[in-house]
Amino acid sequence: MKRASLLQRGWVIVPILVALVITALLLLAFKVSPVEGFGAMIRGAFGDMSKTLSVTAFWVPMTLAAVGLVVSFTAGLWNIGVEGQIVMGAIAASWLALKLDVPRGLLIPLEMLAAMAAGAIWAGIVAVLKTRGKVHEIFGGLAFNNLAIIFTNYLISGPWQPPEGGTFRGTSPFPDKALLPLLGDSRLSPISVVMVIVAVVGVFLILRGTAWGLKLKALGKNPDSAFLLGVSSERETILALMLCGALAGLGGAVRVTSWFDSLRQSISGGIGYLALLVVMLSAFRVAIVPFVSFFFSAVLNGSITLQLRTQLHSALGGILTGVMVLLVLLFGDIRTLRILPGQRRKKAVPDE
């Protein structure tokens, strides 16, 4: 059993390696030496302290969202709406940052709480649409993602537009007291790293050691049996999505109060979708998520340097990560994927 689980963990490396080989071939096809290409990527991600801090700063909201997604995936739910939940969190935090005049020590916690509440509510609506309205969470989530983005655009071009007129870029910068304290010139706030650690440990403990975690697993593996065993699928579905929404919303708050200093037109720009890929590549294991997420952030940030160095399209980083996820889904151990909705009928009884 030990051996198997070690192997299970080890296989995460395989698609990464295969994807690296494919990317290397791609680089060769464009007449770029893979050594130079990957070298540029590594320098772009870790070449100096400011780059590493930038990688970490981008990693924070993506990891928060991904950790949340582990919860909803465990319950067998595809929370595509995570992108919109990030955006709503950003909007809620921005609202307080722009309008509330209280001391910093109070303002920042309030921003974070408001963001979590907004993300949770946004996810909760999708959940209720699923349980009561029979709207699949993928479709509900997509619709609510668009609504959140439209809402942002309305705010920055309407009521929250800067006094000098809208450029569609974003709101005026928040006052300093509304912003998370940053490390030097970077966009990374140490407080946000603490949030990630708390989120990872918290979700790990919830899924591992609580009755609610067990209920989610049961629900994810077989909703019908779970229902017969007394698990309320409606309540668990709503709560799982809301917890995910809260963490995603927190990620949105980090985005506006540390990466940016204002609400911007594309405040997330697809971080939620990246988080979905991160969770899939992590085989839905919360302990692996932070590392895979960090790898994603490094690849994306490294791609900027890669593009400048080689003048190739910077989508190369996206191709690299995309190929990895595809490989995991194609060749990944079916047993680790059993919690996916499509596979849940295969085993009625959990074997752990």
Binding site: G44, G47, S50, K51, S54, F58, N146, I149, I150, N153, S157, G165, G166, T167, F168, R169, R187, R264, Q265, S266, I267, S268, G269, G270, I271, S297, L300, N301, I304, T305, Q307, L308, R309, Q311, H313, S314
Partner: protein
């Protein structure tokens, strides 16, 4: 005697040719490669704003051996959430860039920060005003940051004139992007050009001319976010408009009008931004105002390479002698195939008037849209008044903010 004369002629010719080579072209030669960065908000092949900048960079490479461009495309949070202007600048400087063009008003604020971080590198914030000593944001740019913009209002006045000369229904519509100083100033300029030509060359009352502006919300269509430009143009034409001017980066105005023309309607369009924009539907295209960044980019690179660059805010005028000479003009106007010879004669008169200063559409009396007086009778607008136009003008239909 004859012989002597020939010598004189030959000698003067030789001297002249020496003189020409010395002063005329005066090519700067680079002792070492000069790397410059160009940061684009969109893709480098968007057939619009970003492509024009990319081609400006290529022009420098072609005309100055040793100049080498590094370009970063699509720097916007929707396409690249992980990228920041600062991060891209860090990388460009690491690659040896001594000059960086940041080519969007979205980058204006961050460019100031980057310029402060790298005082040895020159930054040109395109379309900005932070380096304008008389501007509203004077003093915001550090001394290693300059601004460049082409004087597009002149070209928009020509576009408005062409529209007014052509319209049969007396209804012209302007497909606007988002509302800010730049877009208000361009729409207003088109309107002023239209009024002038409607009155002077057609002998009609300019107050009868209907000029409607609809803002879609951004520089191009974002489904679900902006108004759909296809629908907006359809609405224009359904309402009796027969000339549509585009102020956005993409081609909907000419495409939709072209489809209506295929159905037998008499409609025309004037696209924007990109020299080749008429190609979409030449037979209804009256012309296109476009940006040409090559000359100003080249001047900047040469000035830095020779150590003569100084901070400035350049609002570069067109080359009036030939508005399509891309070696010298900063903004251009190309006549479209749909412009009739007869109308072209009037348009050329208008252009000649603009060129020698006899005509200035920005001459008072001029009221803002809400009726406030902006220019007194005979008063000519300053650059400040044109740049920072606070509203649309009286007589224009459409929101000012």
């Amino acid at each position: 005697m004859k012989f002597k004369k020939m010598w004189v002629v030959l000698a003067s010719l030789a001297a002249l040719s020496l003189l020409i080579t010395a002063c005329g072209a005066g090519p700067v030669e680079l002792d070492e490669p000069f790397v410059f960065g160009v940061i684009l908000v969109g893709p480098k092949n968007d057939r619009g704003w970003s492509q024009a900048h990319y081609e400006g960079g290529l022009y420098v490479e072609q005309n100055l051996p040793g100049a080498e461009m590094i370009v970063f495309e699509s720097l916007n949070p929707a396409d690249k959430p992980e990228a920041t202007l600062e991060g891209v600048v860090d990388d460009m400087v690491a690659e040896g860039a001594k000059l960086i063009f940041t080519t969007s008003d979205e980058f204006e604020e961050d460019t100031v920060g980057a310029a402060e971080k790298y005082p040895e590198v020159v930054f040109i914030s395109i379309s900005g005003d932070d380096a304008w000593a008389e501007g509203q944001d004077a003093g915001e740019a550090p001394s290693n940051e300059g601004n460049i913009m082409g004087r597009m209002p002149d070209m928009k006045a020509i576009a408005g004139c062409a529209a007014a000369l052509t319209t049969q229904t007396g209804k012209i519509s302007y497909l606007g992007p988002l509302i800010n100083f730049e877009t208000r100033r361009l729409a207003a300029s088109a309107y002023l050009g239209a009024r002038y030509c409607y009155q002077e060359y057609r002998g009609l009352d300019p107050d009868d001319l209907e000029f409607t502006v609809t803002w879609i919300g951004f520089w191009f269509n974002i489904p679900g976010v902006t108004l759909d430009p296809t629908e907006v143009v359809t609405g224009f034409l359904d309402g009796g408009t027969d000339v549509v001017l585009s102020g956005i980066d993409t081609t909907e105005a000419i495409v939709v009008s072209g489809q209506r023309a295929d159905l037998g309607e008499q409609v025309w369009a004037i696209p924007y931004d990109f020299e080749g924009a008429c190609d979409e539907k030449p037979e209804i295209c009256l012309g296109v105002p476009y940006f040409n960044w090559g000359p100003s980019y080249l001047d900047t690179v040469e000035a830095i390479a020779t150590g003569t660059w100084e901070q400035s805010w350049d609002w570069n005028a067109p080359n009036w002698d030939d508005l399509t000479d891309n070696d010298v003009t900063h903004v251009g106007w190309v006549d479209g195939p749909a412009l009739t010879t007869e109308l072209k004669a009037d348009l050329d008169t208008f252009i000649a008037g603009l060129a020698d200063g006899d005509i200035n559409p920005w001459t008072g009396p001029l009221n803002l849209q809400d009726g406030t007086a902006y220019l007194a009778d005979g008063e000519i607008a300053t650059d400040f008044q044109i740049w920072y136009l606070p509203q649309l003008l009286e007589g224009m239909t459409g929101p000012s903010e």
